[in-house]
Each structure stands twice: as structure tokens, then as C-alpha cells.
Amino acid sequence: MTVTDELQPDIDSINRPFWEGLAEGKLLFQACGCGHRWLPARAFCPACLKATWTWQAAIGRGRIRSWVVYHHAYHPAFKDRLPYNVALVELEEGPRLLTNVLAPNDALRPDADVRLAIDIHRKVPLAVFELVEGQAT
């Protein structure tokens, strides 16, 4: 997995807490007083356009909504990982994100339960997930 360390995120004043959270093993999302919760980071709530939001830590449970498997690397950093998956995961709290599921690609199932698995020892820790075991396939 170290190959992806060649890519660096664009960190700015708005999304910095998200990346700092990952470094501490937490997946943070934004929750607004209006009830809306979202990712990725924004200065204003996309529902009510106010800035009355706080960062909250996800409990780390979610479901696979969809996924793709890359058979071609669009960047050299991913050549050694082919074929690799990118999944769209919906957190139990509501926000959805693009991520990777650390499992054989053919083990991924629609709406399968996943749990957060951040490797804080990576140069850039990422919010990735693993399959919750014991699910019917």
C-alpha cells in the first residue's frame, strides 16, 4: 500500500481537520445545526448555507453502495495494486465517501457491512474499510 504515498492530498484551511483526524485514527465528517451531515469538507452547509456546523467522529460502520474494479492504472502509483477496487460507502451517520475495501475484489457484495480500518502508520493515513465478517454472501 505504500505506493500510494506518492500522491499527496490538497490540504487547505477547510479540510485540514479531516486529514488531521485521519492521522489520529478518526474519520471526521461535518454535522450542521440544521441536521445535515456531509463529506467532503465545505465552509458552508450545502443544505442551509450556514456555517453552524461542527466536526464529528464517525463510529466507523457503513455499507457498500457500489464499487468499481480498476484493470488499468491511470497513475503509476497504482500499477502494482491492479486490479484494485474503489467503493462508494455510506456511513451509518449518513455521509458517503469514495474509499477502498481491503478485501479480495470478488468478495465485495452490494450493501455489505464494512468497518473503518485506518492505518495511522502510513505516511498519509486514509479512511479505508474492511468487510465485517460473518455476512451471508
Binding site: V69, Y70, H71, P83, L97, D111
Partner: protein
């Protein structure tokens, strides 16, 4: 506005790898469109162009106007992805309706084959750290969800690819002229699974243009092959994929409803359709969203050659983005005009109502247009 405006002329360049800059390509297509309409460039007082997808330039509309040697009152470059062509025709209609101009050129050119096609494989923000690259991947994510929710089989996607390739094979101007079978489709290699290579459109150089004016003006100029615009509609979600509440319905719902309402028509009235086919999932969802069949039932709708020439609703009769050229949408408008004129290469006999869809981004934007004689 139904029938008050017409497409009075059309033109296009060759398609493929052309080694020419996009202003030159636009000029070539516009000159042919003016010649087809039988009017002088001096009569043009509006020029609307879509920015080349592969290379954005400041004041691009003015560069094309300079290339054409015209001084339009209205004009410029618009970015809305592949939905822009129909949108620009709508802008032209509204500008003429409000007496801001009288005769508009709408044109598109790009040269990603001779230039750079990097735009199609580009990293998508910080999600690139997860390996999230390319245009294809987003469509693959949508296709997978459609398969999950409705059990859409590979045969449905194959039906779109096979129709486009069959129609393209018959088109002497098409870039890819090779029919495929279901077996060929199934053997086509994965690009971003569940997308196979045969699900993905071409990457092409080329340009295409149309002349828009009022029906009254076309009559007074004696243009006898002008094709009336019956309805036009738009829709935009603008959300990136993770933020969308659904992945299996698009803004085609909104755009289609507006276009059909304006035209006073229903899907059953359509004789031939040119549906944006950047990937095979796109026309399938567009058919559902326009109401040709219920959501989730498109696999049945496209079975048994129904969308091929001779079928109940032939689509993409010149080959579409999958076979004629990868140009994002203007070639579909040209083919719809030819079908209603009765001059298409694979002519649908007696076609009087033609439908065109344009779509941009990862199904971010959608535009629908109905043409009729």
C-alpha cells in the same frame, strides 16, 4: 416556442485523428453549415461554442469568431460538459426570441486524439489517493448500482454497443466501422469493471456545427430543408457521485419532461432517437428516465434488436459516440436533423419526430431536444 425555431444548416469535419487545432476545425464545420443553409457568414450575428473538453482556453468563443472573420453581437464559450450543445441551441432560440440576434451558429470542436486525452483519465480531487481516476470509473459506479438495484444483465449493455456498432459500420464517415456480436462484447476486456472496452466511447478529433434561426426567417430565405425544434429541456444535479441520493436516475427525468411538454408529445410519438452514449449505461438510463419504459425495465426494452435500424425505436443511427465519433454530442444533433429531413445514411422510413439527448460530466447535466417535420 414549439416549432418557432429551426435548424437550418449543418456541417461537420472528418472524424478521427486529424492533426488540426480546434479553431480550424470549428471554422471548417461552420463553413459547411453555412453552405448547407445557403447563407453568407455576414448574416450571422451570434456564435455559441462549447469549450473544447481536452483544452480550455480563455476567450475561446472570440478566437473562433476571429477564425470565421465575423463580429457577432452575441457569443462566447460555454462549459456544461456534453449537455452544452443542446443548451447552446436553447440559448440561441431565446436570444432570437428576445430580438438580441437573428441567425446563430452553434459549434463544437475538440482534438484529444492529436492533442491530449489526459482529461479523461484525470485524478478526481483528493479521492485520487484511493485510486479514483478517469471519467469511466464514475459511470462504472453508476452501472454497478443499476445492476444491483434492477439486476440489469450484460445483454442490455451489449444491446446498446451492438446497435451503435452496427449503425456505425454502415456509416462511411464513422471512425469505427466494425460490427460486434454478443460474444465479442462479452469477451471485451475490462477497463474499470463493470465497464468493458466496448462500453466506452471513442476519443476523437472533429467538429460539428448547426445554424439556428426562426422558422419565419428560414421560409423567407427559401431554406426548404430546415428542421423545426419542437421541444427542449434541461436539468442539472451538480452533485458529485457520493452526495447523490440515487445513482440510478438522472436529470433526464426533468429535461425530458420539459422537452416533451413543450412539444406536446409523448415518448410513444418518437420515431428515432439519438441518445448520448459516452458509456452504454447512459442511453439505457436515459430511456428509462424519459419514460420509454419503467425504471429497471430497460433490459427488456432494448432486447431483440428493438433499438437497431428496423426495430421499434432505432437509436444512434449514425453510430453515436461509440462508433461514429467520440465527439460529445453535436454529431447526434446532426443525425437527428438528417433523419427528419429524410437524408440519413440509415434512414428510418417516414421519421417525423426525432429525439436527441445530450449529457455532461458524470451524469451531472442533461439536455433533451425534440425535432420534427
Amino acid at each position: 416556442m414549439r416549432g418557432r425555431y429551426v435548424i437550418a444548416g449543418l456541417g461537420h469535419t472528418a472524424y478521427g485523428k486529424l492533426g488540426l487545432d480546434t479553431v480550424t476545425l470549428n471554422v471548417q464545420a461552420c463553413a459547411e453549415a453555412l453552405s448547407d443553409a445557403g447563407i453568407d457568414k455576414g448574416a450571422v450575428d451570434a456564435l455559441f461554442v462549447k469549450t473544447p473538453t481536452s483544452n480550455r482556453e480563455i476567450l475561446y468563443g472570440q478566437k473562433v469568431a476571429e477564425g470565421l472573420g465575423i463580429q457577432p453581437r452575441w457569443g462566447g464559450a460555454w462549459d456544461q460538459g456534453g449537455a452544452a450543445n443542446i443548451t447552446l441551441i436553447a440559448w440561441a432560440m431565446m436570444a432570437i426570441e428576445s430580438r438580441q440576434c437573428e441567425i446563430a451558429l452553434v459549434s463544437y470542436a475538440d482534438n484529444p486524439r492529436s492533442g491530449s486525452s489526459a482529461v479523461y483519465g484525470r485524478p478526481r480531487g483528493n479521492d485520487a489517493l484511493h485510486g479514483w481516476f478517469s471519467t469511466a470509473a464514475g459511470y462504472g459506479m453508476i452501472q454497478r448500482r443499476h445492476m444491483i438495484e434492477y439486476g440489469t444483465p450484460p445483454e442490455a449493455f451489449a444491446a446498446v454497443a451492438m446497435a451503435a456498432r452496427r449503425h456505425g459500420a454502415a456509416n462511411p464517415k464513422a471512425q469505427l466501422r466494425a460490427e460486434i456480436s454478443l460474444e465479442d462484447y462479452l469477451a471485451s476486456p475490462w477497463v474499470v469493471e463493470p465497464l468493458r472496452r466496448d462500453d466506452c466511447c471513442l476519443v476523437s478529433d472533429g467538429a460539428a456545427a448547426v445554424v439556428v434561426m426562426s422558422a419565419a426567417r428560414a421560409r423567407s430565405l427559401g431554406i426548404d430543408h430546415a428542421v423545426p425544434i419542437l421541444g427542449i429541456g434541461e436539468g442539472q444535479t451538480s452533485w458529485e457521485l457520493p452526495a447523490r441520493e440515487t445513482l440510478t436516475s438522472t436529470e433526464a427525468v426533468k429535461a425530458g419532461r420539459l422537452a416533451f411538454e413543450m412539444a406536446g408529445l409523448r415518448p410513444a410519438d418518437v420515431d428515432v432517437a439519438q441518445l448520448y452514449d459516452c458509456f452504454t449505461i447512459t442511453p439505457l438510463m436515459t430511456l428509462e428516465d424519459y419514460g420509454f419504459c419503467a425504471k429497471g425495465e430497460v433490459a427488456h426494452f432494448v432486447a431483440d434488436g428493438r433499438i437497431e435500424i428496423g426495430g421499434e425505436l432505432p437509436i444512434n443511427t449514425s453510430g453515436g459516440l461509440l462508433s461514429e465519433t467520440g465527439m460529445p454530442g453535436m454529431q447526434l444533433i446532426l443525425e437527428a436533423v438528417r433523419q427528419v429531413r429524410g437524408t440519413a445514411n440509415l434512414q428510418v422510413q417516414g421519421a417525423s419526430v426525432g429525439l436527441v439527448s445530450n449529457q455532461g460530466g458524470t451524469m451531472h447535466t442533461h439536455a433533451a431536444m425534440l425535432l420534427g417535420g
